[in-house]
């Protein structure tokens, strides 16, 4: 088949048509422009600048010096970076599953037509809108490493000895994870709730008529219908976990003995405590690549496709 031949006349016609479309739709472009500009300036430019920085040696205020792949070479040979990488992966593993399951459970509980259910929903959501500084301060108190600490007092009822939650190198990361699950479950609960409420009631009714019990209805009807929400929650929770910073910064300062130093905390230390912006940028790029790969793998294995809905 012969290809389309571009004639001067057709080019003029096309150009005129584009100009007409621009004249007709300029208001649409006007509305899109603010967010487009914000995206270009605050996302794309910063991202490009970070890539540029990762090849530089820069203290933020001094002159920049091109170091090629020097930052990356140093990073990949740095034991503290790999330690932070391990901590981040472990944190992601112990955070994503539990937070997804707990928030789904809570969502299922508050997805009822009961009096004052709005109060319960708000209560579960409250940590999400509470400042992480306040949350961290309260949790430092809860996790006091002696018998009089609230959590130790509670486990004392079970006959368990007091634990040094944030001080024991093997307990510090699970403790931070626990706090983070508590602090963020409300957000995922809202996502699940939206998913649950979009499942048609007729399907539940049909299943019940067919003799399915509550558990079977949930397991065989509700959960499969929540697949899009599940994928979204898992991907978002994973990305959030790989970018963990605030709770570590406020609760443990990356300690004890780097047991809670995540990659983002390490990036912050490199860039803003030891003033190595280029090195920090290189670590950020590596983290970005890891997040991208993980997200793509999740997309593939969880079956995220166009016809998911």
């Amino acid at each position: 088949m012969a290809g389309r031949v571009e004639t001067p006349a057709s080019a003029i016609v096309r150009s005129r048509s584009r100009w007409r479309s621009l004249r007709t739709c300029w208001t649409w472009y006007l509305f899109v422009a603010p967010s487009l500009i914000l995206f270009l300036v605050f996302t794309l430019f910063i991202w490009a600048f970070m890539i540029y920085l990762s090849f530089q040696d820069w203290s933020l205020i001094g002159p920049r010096a091109f170091v090629g792949l020097g930052n990356y070479r140093e990073l990949l040979a740095n034991e503290h970076f790999w330690s932070a990488f391990r901590v981040t992966l472990v944190y992601t593993l112990i955070f994503v599953g539990p937070v997804a399951a707990i928030s789904l459970l809570v969502a299922a509980l508050v997805n009822q037509r009961l009096p004052l259910i709005g109060v319960f929903r708000s209560a579960y959501f409250l940590p999400v809108v509470t400042s992480i500084s306040v949350i961290a301060l309260v949790w430092r108190f809860i996790l006091i490493p002696r018998a009089e600490g609230p959590l130790n007092y509670l486990i004392g009822w079970l006959g368990l000895p007091p634990q040094e939650w944030l001080i024991d190198t093997s307990l510090a990361l699970p403790s931070v994870t626990g706090m983070q699950i508590w602090a963020t479950a409300g957000y995922y609960m809202i996502l699940w709730l939206a998913g649950l409420q979009s499942v048609p009631e007729e399907l539940h009714e049909a299943a019940r008529i067919d003799g399915a019990g509550r558990w079977a209805v949930f397991w065989r009807v509700t959960l499969p219908m929540l697949r899009p929400t599940t994928i979204f929650v898992v991907i978002i929770a994973t990305i959030g976990a790989l970018q963990m910073f605030g709770a570590v910064f406020l609760l443990t300062g990356g300690g004890p003995v780097r047991a809670t130093t995540t990659v983002v905390y390490y990036v912050w230390q490199s860039a803003f405590m030891t003033y190595r912006m280029g090195f920090g940028a290189a670590a950020s790029i590596v983290l970005f690549v890891v997040i991208l790969i993980v997200a793509l793998l999740q997309r593939r294995f969880l079956g995220w496709t166009e016809d998911i809905y």
């Binding site: 933020l60 406020l250 405590m273």
Partner: protein
């Protein structure tokens, strides 16, 4: 019906483009070269000031310089960080009123920013080419700002007699980078401890003779623990506490020329052994081992002391006196001199003013700085903020409460400012804390922890100097 517009689209665009072009050209034009004031002292008066100098009180006549009156027009922006609950009301509004009388046409906008990320904020503003004209700067930024040419040399901007009014040690060691005086002190932060007299008695210690040496402190720690009290609290990420402990053991963290990290010396080993003993024997709350300096301090440093669970306060700045008055008004306490290992010593750092090199109004900023460091104004500033004034003549105007004055004057003879307090502060803290944690939690020996910390920190110091040579 289509109305005739007042201005055609083409004409509107033409006007718009011309206006934008003119504005851009105007914006590109460099600001007029600043004229730096040459402050000529006009009023000289003698004030008899009590100056505490190395364990003796000396009555010394001090020359007080008043900056020349009005005839100065300008504007400047100053960044500062909170020293009180409400700096605007308690410090800046009264000072602005005083300044208005002196310089009716000097318009200074004082912006009080949160402490968190103060270095990053200043660095980012400087890097973007839009820093404030002047800012409150701590001496812990000296190597960073000095090596990157961030601040102006204040030597020619502040009269010689003002510099002469500062204690020599403060000016000599604390403010200079390669011979340039980049900062002028506005307050001195001296640390010390209080002892709860009732708890001392309860622990079987004579409240009239509180402990001042390391062995005594450890002995009191054992007695206090037996009675269910903490001895004191300690934050491992507090670099200042570490530095002071090394000094008390008779050493320094860095060599005098700042090229060597001396964590492999016996003083560092003794210091870390002392800290390890405090933690491992349970004399201090264990939670001080983790967490950022501020967060750990928020939970451990003050709470246990003011709630009668801790015999000695943490090594704190003089504000601890105010805190005790506010939160435990019934507590009877004794103010302690610094602890003594091989040496009895504590440290001080200075809060200062500096003018940025990219300041657009350096003349106005200099005028303002000269105004706020005047004895009366510095005395007022430090009284309001609960600090000690570094200018000797400002003592006259220092109206802090008696206990706060006593706290400061008791520490002053033992106070040292040296390279450890002013250089590689962040680097030292960030690098060493995990290794100190390893030693305290028994994950590595003291020797190994110090060797590891020295290796990592020395690498950064070497890289810093290598860059300086380029």
């Amino acid at each position: 019906m289509r109305q005739r517009s007042l201005c055609s689209r083409r004409r509107f665009l033409a006007i718009g483009v011309s206006t934008a072009g003119a504005a851009a050209l105007a914006a590109c034009q460099p600001p007029p070269a600043p004229t730096v004031p040459a402050p000529t002292p006009q009023v000289v008066e003698k004030v008899v000031t009590q100056v505490v100098e190395r364990e003796k009180v000396v009555e010394k006549p001090v020359v007080v310089t008043a900056t020349p009156p009005p005839a100065f027009k300008g504007a400047a922006t100053v960044w500062t960080f909170p020293q009180t609950q409400d700096d605007v009301a308690s410090i800046w509004t009264p000072l602005a009123e005083r300044m208005k009388k002196r310089y009716p046409e000097l318009d200074v906008k004082t912006e009080v920013l949160p402490w968190a990320g103060r270095r990053e904020k200043m660095m980012a503003a400087f890097a973007s080419g839009e820093p404030p004209d002047a800012a409150y700067v701590n001496t812990d930024t000296l190597s960073l700002f000095g090596s990157n040419d961030v601040l102006q040399d204040l030597t020619p901007l502040v009269p010689k007699e003002v510099w002469d009014d500062y204690p020599e040690g403060v000016v000599k060691t604390g403010l200079s980078w390669k011979g340039k005086r980049l900062m002028i002190p506005t307050l001195v932060i001296i640390t010390g401890r209080l002892a709860n007299q009732e708890l001392l008695s309860a622990a079987g210690w004579d409240p009239e003779k509180p402990p001042t040496t390391w062995p005594d402190v450890l002995k009191l720690g054992a007695q206090a623990k037996e009675k269910g009290y903490f001895l004191t609290s300690w934050t491992l990420s507090d670099w200042g506490s570490w530095v002071r402990t090394v000094w008390q053991a008779g050493g320094t963290v860095y060599s005098d020329d700042l090229t060597k990290v001396q964590l492999d010396q016996s003083a560092a080993e003794e210091a870390l052994n002392f800290m390890v003993e405090l933690f491992q024997k349970g004399y201090v709350p264990r939670e001080g081992a983790v967490g950022s300096e501020q967060e750990a301090a928020a939970v451990t440093a003050v709470d246990y002391f003011v709630t009668d669970k801790q015999v000695l306060s943490a090594d704190s700045n003089p504000n601890v006196v105010d805190t005790v008055h506010a939160q435990a008004p019934k507590m009877k306490y004794t103010i302690l001199p610094p602890l003594k290992g091989k040496e009895q010593v504590t440290g001080a750092s200075a809060g200062c003013w500096g003018i940025f090199n990219k300041s657009k109004n350096p003349a106005a900023a200099a005028r303002w700085i000269n105004f706020v460091v005047e004895p009366e104004n510095q005395g007022f500033y430090c009284s309001a903020g609960g600090f000690a004034p570094p200018r000797q003549s400002a003592n006259t105007y220092w109206t802090a409460q008696p206990d706060l004055k006593k706290f400061v004057t008791l520490q002053l003879p033992f106070t040292r400012i040296n390279q450890d307090m002013n250089y590689f502060w962040q680097e030292g803290k960030t690098t060493s804390t995990p290794y100190f944690q390893a030693a305290v939690l028994g994950k590595s020996s003291v020797k190994q922890a110090l060797a590891d910390a020295k290796r990592d920190l020395q690498k950064q110091v070497d890289a810093f100097w290598a860059k300086q040579k380029q």
